[in-house]
């Protein structure tokens, strides 16, 4: 146990003492190796991007060269031209990020350019997210989006069961109703879903919480650092990652944001950097560990125990 702790401490020190630029480059390349959804379905792109990423990880000098990142930019841009209408937002963000790395490594001051672009890209991502949610989307502010998601997305059914009194039969009804609506054989135009009032309330709370935290993040990352409260930008981004992806485990987007967060982190902020680094495995744990079913079982056991104890 003691040696395990020592090894972990040594590993932590090694990570924190490594050059921040190298750390960001490696984190980006690991994202390309580990997250197939970024690479699309065509094997050609998967092979080239993953192959390049492995080279960049194994040969750090290659990963630090501008030519390497211009090659990566070219592949990502060709892939995007081919797929832009089905490409997820974070893949666009990674396009801009690869371009940032290519430009930054072509200059004598890469760290500063990376940090400035990362900060702006995070701020703009959240600004556009808030623009869509608050102003462009006709249904978001009514709570429709999260309500619909909580009723029909199996990835978040654990929350509905644990906190909102939804039962598995209601979810089964909703999944069947959605399948019917999508079926080419059925000319059904609308279906009735089942829910609970508490679930609707939760949807409204999450709707507003999301707009507030995303709006705050947009401001914190877009305002110049001379404003005092922009010091809270790292804490806010980490809070966003730790809470949002617990409820909605979208690891690829989370890792992309964390990589950008790491890139704009001050070189001297060792503790913040450590928090960013630890967020990678945390988000993976959110995805892989059945957290909500476990909480559900614990709550059921607790409830059963208290009922047995009632006279």
């Amino acid at each position: 146990m003691h040696s395990l702790r020592k090894t972990a401490a040594r590993f932590g020190d090694m990570l924190l003492e490594s050059d921040p630029l190298d750390l960001v480059i490696r984190a980006t390349l690991l994202l390309f190796v580990g997250m197939p959804s970024i690479l699309g379905v065509e094997w050609q792109y998967q092979l080239i991007i993953r192959g390049l990423a492995v080279i960049g990880i194994l040969a750090p000098a290659a990963g630090r060269s501008a030519a390497f990142w211009w090659a990566m930019v070219t592949i990502f841009f060709v892939k995007s031209v081919d797929h832009w209408w089905i490409q997820d937002n974070h893949v666009f963000l990674l396009n801009w990020w690869c371009l940032t790395l290519a430009i930054a490594l072509s200059t004598p001051d890469p760290r500063r350019i990376l940090a400035a672009n990362a900060r702006l890209l995070i701020g703009l991502s959240f600004s556009f997210a808030v623009l869509w949610k608050g102003f462009l989307s006709p249904d978001y502010m009514r709570g429709d989006y999260f309500h619909f998601t909580f009723l029909t997305d199996s990835r978040v059914s654990g929350i509905g069961t644990l906190l909102c009194g939804m039962d598995p039969l209601q979810y089964r009804h909703n999944y069947d109703a959605m399948s019917l609506l999508a079926s080419y054989k059925a000319e059904v135009q609308s279906v009735q879903l089942e829910g609970t009032p508490v679930l609707r309330m939760l949807a409204v709370v999450v709707t507003w919480w999301t707009v507030v935290i995303e709006g705050a993040l947009a401001l914190l990352f877009l305002l110049p650092s001379k404003f005092r409260w922009t010091r809270g930008r790292n804490a806010a981004l980490l809070l966003f990652a730790w809470t949002t992806y617990l409820a909605m485990p979208i690891v690829t987007f989370g890792w992309t944001l964390i990589t950008l967060g790491l890139a704009q982190c001050d070189d001297g902020a060792r503790r913040t950097r450590l928090c960013y680094i630890l967020t990678y495995p945390l988000l993976l744990a959110y995805l892989l560990a059945p957290i909500w079913p476990m909480l559900n079982r614990a709550a059921s056991a607790l409830l059963a125990g208290s009922l047995v104890g009632t006279p």
């Binding site: 832009w84 209408w85 801009w96 703009l124 949610k133 978001y140 999508a182 080419y184 089942e194 001050d266």
Partner: protein, 155 residues
């Protein structure tokens, strides 16, 4: 105290921020396409993914084989062979159902060896809508295109 990365030693050049400029231009273009041409807000790079139920996975393509007497619905891509070549036209027609994308899909579909003699094909793109107050989920038609058996557009 200002950090090193906020305290530049040399003047910034505009092209250092070219990625940010591109990000803004593409996002504004996406907003325009979504509002004017039916692009799903969840795609295209403007971060509309978690803002509406009109996501790509909630969009629905419907196809009908038109004969002299009836319209026969058929599944895309289940009943049509060679789905690999159909994949791109299908996604394009669902995500951004402009005339060119729907035509590209019908062009592929009319080439398929259907067992029923047909006079034309119609494809439709539908999006999802949800009313939180009544808990009703509905589908709404975004666009459709009808072609004859040779693939020529019909009114």
């Amino acid at each position: 105290m200002k950090s090193e990365i906020d305290n530049p030693a040399r003047t910034a050049r505009w092209w250092w921020f070219f990625p940010v400029i591109l990000a803004v231009v593409f996002a504004l273009w996406q907003v325009q396409l979504a509002r004017r041409h039916g692009l799903t807000p969840s795609k295209g790079g403007a971060f509309g993914l978690f803002s509406t139920v009109d996501k790509l996975e909630n969009r629905n393509l419907r196809a009908y084989l038109l004969t002299q007497t009836q319209e026969i619905p058929f599944a895309i891509p289940q009943t049509v062979p060679s789905t690999e070549e159909l994949r791109k036209p299908i996604y394009r027609a669902a995500s951004l159902p402009i005339e060119a994308h729907l035509q590209a899909l019908t062009d592929e579909l009319v080439k398929k060896p259907f067992t029923v003699p047909f006079t034309g094909i119609r494809v439709e793109t539908w999006k999802m809508d949800f009313d939180s107050a009544t808990l009703r989920a509905s589908r709404i038609k975004v666009a459709s295109r009808t072609v004859d058996a040779e693939g020529h557009a019909q009114p």
